[in-house]
């Protein structure tokens, strides 16, 4: 099998901060990649803006490179561990 094209994903975590590389994903095209990026990388309100870039379009320096639709997650408090009542006395959870 050949597999779908690889896209690198960049997320601006909050207003005032730059886009940061968060990982990559596969999608048939850029439009789908953008949607997938929202679902995969911002499930916990981690972003205010996303870029997707075809991995083939990136030219990297070498070898010591410098690393370089929202609001639906706000009500999913059960994703955050503080949502759970840890019974009194239970440690290391």
């Amino acid at each position: 099998m050949t597999g779908e094209p690889l896209f690198e994903v960049f997320v601006r975590p909050r207003r005032g901060l730059s886009h940061t590389h968060v990982g990559s994903l596969h999608a048939p095209d850029a439009e789908m990649a953008l949607r997938n990026a929202r679902d995969v990388y911002t499930r916990r309100e981690e972003g205010v803006s996303i870029w997707v870039v075809p991995a083939t379009a990136i030219t990297a320096s070498s070898p010591d490179e410098k690393d370089s639709f929202f609001d639906p997650a706000a009500d999913k408090v059960y994703r955050h561990p503080t949502f759970y009542d840890v019974p009194d006395g239970a440690k290391h959870l």
């Binding site: 690889l6 990982g23 561990p81």
Partner: protein
């Protein structure tokens, strides 16, 4: 196994799991801010060693020894496969969850595991292998996934036991990986471990509710713990006497604690937590050893572990069949999407 080739210094220490993950993240940043490591990147092996000595991260386009690259690919891929196959035992209870709140939590958890698989495949791909190749190796059996997912989920209480014990053991294994020397893997693990904490807590909450519910519910919870205890202990891998962790892995900072050390930490944590749950750990020989300042316990059946890894577990065939079916049933969709993308490109080109 579930990432037990790597181990770092902080698993099981005080301060909570999230605290340890945050400490690992802070250490990563602090090391990065100490500036570039002295030395000449052209002196390949020497510079690689110097970066690791300085606790900084090896990044994708850096030179690295072949064995380091191969070991990481195998390890990260196996970990990614485990996340993806690991969706199945719990996923089968989404449609049957006994309340809408539990249904939502379970859906979100299983979705997270898919996300974890994707983060990890992405990390593996930075090492020069494609996800398609990795998936092929899973589907044709060349690469493995954690043996734990070859056990069946017989009752709702299994969802609680998996969260508490399986996600719990995974966390003990994985928190040290947040300090592993390969940057993309360390960063993926930091992200994953932060999410895992919710998984363990939701499982613990399920068991706590069942244990303090009706007598039938309590019995269901105890039965689940009875069945998942030893397979969870086996997640830490074979005993140190049989395991071949090399001095090389230690030097590369991709292994610091032995399987038995991590297993011991896990047991010590669980004993206290089981007490609060009001559930019994199914080991008559489990007791505090004041000399060792640790619990003595019965080791899991490692012959069974080997049999399950080799494919002879209760659900190996079912898990692989499910994955293969999803892959082949989706072929027409992937082909269509590729064909559509090609057509759009033609339109643009004209």
């Amino acid at each position: 196994m579930y990432g037990n080739d790597f181990a770092g210094p902080d698993a099981g220490s005080d301060g909570g799991l999230l605290g340890q993950v945050e400490a690992a993240e802070a250490a990563l940043r602090a090391a990065a801010h100490r500036g570039r490591v002295e030395g000449d990147p052209a002196a390949l092996q020497d510079y690689f060693d110097a970066v690791i000595d300085a606790d900084q991260k090896i990044e994708p386009r850096d030179w690295m020894p072949d064995a380091y690259r191969r070991g990481l690919v195998r390890q990260i891929a196996q970990h990614a496969h485990s996340e993806i196959i690991g969706m199945q035992p719990e996923g089968s209870w989404i449609t049957r969850a006994p309340s809408l709140k539990r249904k939502a939590i379970l859906l979100a958890k299983v979705q997270d595991e898919a996300g974890h698989g994707l983060y990890l495949y992405a990390a593996a791909e930075t090492l020069g292998i494609t996800r398609a190749e990795l998936v092929d190796m899973l589907l044709d059996g060349r690469q493995k996934y954690s043996s734990i997912f070859n056990y069946p989920t017989l009752t709702w209480a299994d969802i609680g036991a998996i969260g508490w014990l399986v996600d719990g053991a995974a966390i003990v294994n994985q928190v040290p990986l947040c300090r592993c020397s390969y940057g993309p893997y360390a960063r993926a693990m930091i992200r994953i471990c932060k999410e895992e904490s919710f998984h363990q807590r939701q499982g613990y909450e399920i068991l706590h509710t069942l244990s303090h519910g009706t007598p039938e519910q309590h019995a269901m919870a105890q039965d689940a713990v009875d069945r998942w205890w030893y397979p969870s202990l086996a997640m830490f891998g074979p005993p140190d006497t049989d395991s071949t962790h090399s001095a090389q892995s230690m030097a590369w900072k991709i292994k610091r604690f032995s399987n038995d050390d991590l297993r011991q930490r896990f047991v010590d944590m669980c004993v206290q937590q089981a007490g609060v749950l009001g559930l019994r750990i199914p080991d008559p020989d489990l007791r505090w050893n004041s000399e060792r300042q640790a619990h003595d316990f019965t080791a899991p059946d490692f012959d069974e572990l080997m049999r399950v890894i080799k494919g002879d577990g209760p659900c190996n065939a079912e898990r692989m069949a499910h994955r293969r079916r999803a892959h082949s049933d989706g072929a027409w969709v992937r082909e269509a999407a590729a064909a559509y993308a090609a057509k759009q490109e033609e339109v643009v080109a004209v």
